[in-house]
């Protein structure tokens, strides 16, 4: 027997039956693309084409087209990389850690969040390949024998650890996401009307038959992958933070970096999930599944992780003073009051102060506020990486080497490229694959519905009811 306490708020509204879930989610996979989708997709592809041209020019001409100089050798490229990797954290957090914590609200958002993770990691990787300058030699980052490359990789470098951490993370996230898709792909296969889609979704669903044994394996697999992904989530951003913290640059070398980077990553990732889900729920009419409760829960996570990041900022600042190390003290005072003060205060305002608005119940349950604040958070998290990277570098050890960073058109356009790539991929996903995990939402219908229909296994209320092809008896 399973009991749900009366103080728990419902997670599915509208009195849905199992068939309704299938109907509501499969609708846009099976239907023709909507006008909104087509417009958004066209814009994304145009941006992607423009960005791709700029990236090609960057490679053709060389990294000199960026605004880097001898003092600031890392700027927008690594800022964008860390930003995207950070965004890529929420997906696995939702699918893995929240699964281990048995959070039922994850079922409605995990699919889209995992897809976001995968695309965000691809965007992050694109900046690594970009800043290599010669993408055709990217395999030099792998430990291949010398006949394939110039030199054996330096295993002492956290940059090499990154290659392993991120590729492992990407692989496991992809497998986790795809495995979770299989039952839903089979549902779409079974409902498919055209031969082509039956063939394609049939091949993708890998012979899923929905037997009890298959479901049991699915459950085992989910738990095992969740157990594997949880340390991976932590490890990826930990190692990203090592890229900086293993050095002796003031402002970079600080021991709190690993957990603080992880918290910041989850923070920005959840903000991005909010942005995507708030649009999806309206455009795809999924308000009954992605409810205000879901939004509120995610806003609580944003407030929590934002506050953790805030504590870390203050800790760094305090210890910089407490340590008595004058370089460290200078680095932090310079952050707040030096030539890049505006970046620092943009970061502080967006990351630490603005999420505190979510302490108000009205604000954290407001769709508009949530959307705006989520954008603000992601602006703040971009500035955080900019502050850490550029502000720590721009005061070199010799005052004659002090410099400022000025982004060029290609710094900006290559960043725009990643948006084109991200949204193109995400829009393709949201059209051709179910954006909500139908199978998992069905598992919480009985325990977490606002009101239950007389029979939850009844037929759908949607347009297909007149011609229910999912019902084999009719044929």
């Amino acid at each position: 027997m399973h009991v749900t306490s009366s103080v728990r708020t419902p997670l599915v509204t509208g009195g849905k039956t199992y068939a309704d879930v299938t109907e509501d989610v499969s609708r846009q996979v099976e239907g023709r693309p909507t006008r909104e989708w087509t417009i958004a997709f066209a814009i994304s592809v145009v941006v992607l084409i423009y960005g791709t041209a700029c990236v090609f020019w960057t490679w053709w001409e060389g990294l000199g087209v960026w605004g880097l100089n001898k003092t600031i050798g890392w700027a927008w490229d690594i800022t964008n990389f860390v930003w995207w990797v950070g965004i890529g954290h929420a997906g696995t957090l939702i699918s893995a850690i929240l699964l281990l914590f048995r959070q039922k609200w994850r079922t409605a958002v995990n699919r889209a969040a995992e897809a976001m993770t995968i695309f965000a990691v691809i965007c992050a990787a694109s900046f690594i390949v970009m800043h290599m300058g010669r993408p055709w030699l990217a395999y030099w980052a792998l430990p291949l024998p010398n006949t394939f490359g110039s030199l054996w990789v330096n295993f002492k470098s956290p940059l090499v650890w990154d290659v392993f951490a991120i590729s492992t993370y990407f692989t496991v996230s992809l497998v986790f996401w795809y495995m979770g898709l299989i039952p839903d792909l089979a549902t779409i296969r079974d409902r498919a009307r055209s031969k082509v889609s039956r063939y394609i979704y049939g091949a993708l669903s890998m012979g899923w038959n929905g037997s009890a044994k298959t479901w049991a394996r699915y459950e085992y697999m989910s738990l095992i992958l969740a157990g594997l992904s949880t340390p991976l989530v932590l490890s990826v951003h930990t190692i990203v933070s090592f890229d900086f913290a293993t050095s002796v640059i003031p402002g970079w070398h600080t021991t709190i970096f690993p957990p603080y980077f992880v918290a910041g990553a989850i923070f920005s990732g959840f903000a991005m999930v909010q942005n995507l889900m708030l649009i999806i729920r309206v455009v795809f009419r999924l308000e009954d599944y992605i409810t205000v409760e879901h939004i509120e829960s995610m806003n609580k996570v944003i407030t929590l992780t934002g506050s953790i990041v805030g504590i870390a900022y203050l800790t760094e600042f305090f210890i910089a003073w407490y340590s008595g190390v004058e370089f460290e003290t200078y680095a932090f005072i310079n952050r707040a009051t030096g030539p890049y003060w505006w970046a620092y205060w943009a970061m502080m305002t967006c990351n630490v102060i603005s999420p505190q608005l979510f302490w108000s119940r009205t604000i954290r349950r407001s769709v508009i506020w949530t959307f705006v604040l989520s954008v603000v958070v992601n602006i703040g998290m971009w500035f955080e990486r900019f502050v850490i990277i550029v502000t720590s570098l721009h005061r070199d050890y010799l005052p004659s080497s002090w410099a400022m960073f000025h982004p060029t058109l290609f710094d900006i356009s290559d960043y725009i490229f990643s948006f084109g790539l991200f949204f193109t991929l995400f829009l393709l996903f949201s059209k051709f694959l179910p954006v909500v995990n139908m199978a998992e939402v069905k598992t919480i219908i009985k325990s977490s519905s606002e009101k239950l229909p007389k029979s939850v296994s009844g037929v759908a209320k949607g347009e297909r009811v007149a011609n229910p092809t999912f019902n084999k008896d009719v044929e």
Partner: protein, 434 residues
Amino acid sequence: MASVHAIPSLEQEYEFTSESKRRLMIGIGAGVVLVAIGAFLLASGVGDHSHEVVQGQGHSAGHEGEHGFKWTTRLWANLWLNAVYFTGVSVIGMFFISYNYLAQAGWSSVFKRIPEAMPAFLPVTGIVMLVTFFVAGHDLFHWTHHDLYDPNSEHYDPIIAGKSGFLNTPFYVIRIVVYFVAWYGLWRILRNFSLQEDLNGGTEYYEKSIKFATAFLVVFAVTSSTSAWDFVMSIDTHWFSTMFGWYTLASWHVTGLAVITLTVITLKERGYLQAVNENHLHDLGKFMFAFSIFWTYVWFAQFMLIYYANLPEETIYYRERFSGYGGIYQAPFFINLFLNFVFPFLVLMTRDAKRTNIFMKIACWGIIVGHYFDFYTNIMPGTVGEHGGFGPIEFGMILIFACGFMWSVSTQLAKANLYPKNHPMIEEAIHHDI
């Protein structure tokens, strides 16, 4: 699975028997005797092997501006160590119920009275800390010496003088008082709500508890870090690490989880808390497993970054523990890593282990003992240096504090029904099945 669903009555009183009281008194008495023997041995110079070491190293001690070692320092250092350790265990009880309220966790409500009983020990450790600081502050905390701040003194230390805005006696004492008052005060409020809920029912107390639990978490978010700097990091006055606050919190947290689990299992084996089944133990086991790994993660991140950057003012901390003082802290250093990572990692790996009392108890004891070593390696080198060791004083002091803590928890458990019978989540918890 029928046994899982056979619901026992939610009315159950814990009886703190005179037999238990007698045993705890004997424990405390034995601890006092051990400490007395240890003190006598130290006072008469037996068992302190450090004299040869000091002579072997020449006059290194004199350079650091010490005022000569007194045997009582080891006594005070032990008091401080145990006070810090048990402060952590106690406050984690509050931390646990607070985040369970905030996260709307259901499963943990069935044994909620156990973490709820733990913070009652805070006044004891708070007073011990204040007394220790007033009596022996100069012996334990290098920064309390006034001549460090006097530019005309030969002991003037510009680095420490630069910290005087934070490390000065009045502010330090205020902070300690604030920590204990805030932690204990907020616990009293939550405890009161919890007891009222037993009598009156309704969800009103639950809603209020969520608010105060959140308030505690905000307070603890700051004070857990600052108290770690105050209680432990300031002993090695020059040294600093931004991770230290979260590292200490991770250590306290997993210790607290082990103490909660051990208490739950012990009560279960004595016939109490029958509504707690192997599913709850499984979850507690997962918590201990996960947070043992988390502790290792922060330990390793801190160690690795300091090792890698290789800045002398930072690496000295590990150097002292690894090979300093004649190498006497090397064993605790490795025992710490073994008991807190390798051991729980292997013991709690399988599902069956987490659902079996004996394996859980073994893991709990490993973690509880292991984190004593964690605090030992952090506190002892900076306070007693080459005069440290394991003798009757150490064992006796642990015995006194542990028995005192058990006494305090038992008293609290006896004050209320063992189940929070009107908790809105209790139905979920007794039907917990994973």
